[in-house]
């Protein structure tokens, strides 16, 4: 049962079925399709390539999905779109302070350029456990795959995360700044 549309606000922390991983489907598909992709050099367009593939040759992939915590980066309360952009939220392992002291220190001090610490407030919706928003992993998520809202970040927190997204995506906002 998907979460109610009214809950899908910008800054909502949600549980979602999140099928995307950067390595998928490339790592699964490429080894078995080297010959087919080698044929790409003979075609000028994707359409020509697809027209030359017999129907039985088209690969079908069985996808497994993970229930993940995500952060909604856009307001998705209206019914006008089926997808919403989201950032992945990862849990902080107990041994992270010892294993990744530099990252942990920057997370806690709020100075990491691409990661943002969650779990310090109940409204973060992480059940009181440490977690971080990773702005290096952004993806559209189907609204139907969002099952439950567990938290809500404040406008100030979303502003901090927006700054990290500018950094992660290497956005040029010089025009915006010069006009302000």
């Amino acid at each position: 049962m998907p979460a109610a549309g009214a809950e899908l606000t910008r800054g909502a922390v949600c549980l979602a079925l999140y099928p995307f991983t950067p390595g998928f489907p490339v790592e699964a598909l490429l080894p078995s399709a080297e010959i087919e992709f080698a044929r790409l050099s003979r075609y000028d367009s994707i359409e020509e390539f697809q027209a030359d593939i017999a129907p039985g040759e088209v690969p079908r992939i069985v996808v497994s999905v993970k229930l993940r915590r995500i952060l909604l980066l856009q307001d998705a309360t209206s019914g006008s779109r089926d997808d919403v952009m989201a950032a992945r939220i990862n849990s902080i392992d107990q041994d992270m302070p010892a294993r990744k002291p530099g990252i942990y220190r920057r997370l806690v001090s709020g100075t990491h350029p691409t990661l943002y610490l969650l779990g310090t407030q109940e409204r973060h919706g992480t059940s009181g456990k440490g977690a971080y928003v990773n702005t290096m992993h952004l993806a559209p998520v189907a609204k139907k795959a969002i099952l439950r809202r567990t938290g809500q970040l404040s406008p100030d927190e979303m502003r901090d995360i927006s700054e990290r997204i500018v950094t992660s995506l290497e956005l040029d906002i010089s025009g915006l700044l010069s006009r302000s």
């Binding site: 390595g23 699964a28 999905v65 350029p113 990773n134």
Partner: protein, 94 residues
């Protein structure tokens, strides 16, 4: 970038901070657990001032220049944690 210059006589830096700066180690000043000030050696500042200026003006900076080995390790570990998803089952083209 226009800098605000203060006289050394108007700033009190504990000896531990001065010694760290002399070794080219950054000094972090915190308030309530949050970073409020970083001090670095002037030579180190010159090495990164161009990058800081680009960011201040809103120009893009390659994100990899802002990450370190721990960050890249973390990204690799996250990816490895999704290995079961990345495997999938391919039917066809095989």
């Amino acid at each position: 970038m226009a800098e605000t210059v203060l006289s050394a006589s108007s700033v009190r830096i504990p000896n531990a901070g001065r010694e760290a700066l002399a070794r080219h180690q950054p000094v972090l000043v915190q308030s309530h657990g949050r970073a409020v000030l970083y001090m670095i050696h002037p030579d180190d500042y010159e090495a990164v001032s161009g990058l800081l200026e680009r960011r201040r003006r809103g120009h893009p900076v390659p994100v990899e220049e802002l990450l370190d080995d721990e960050d890249f390790d973390l990204l690799r570990e996250e990816r490895a944690g999704d290995q079961d998803l990345a495997q999938g089952i391919v039917e066809g083209w095989s």
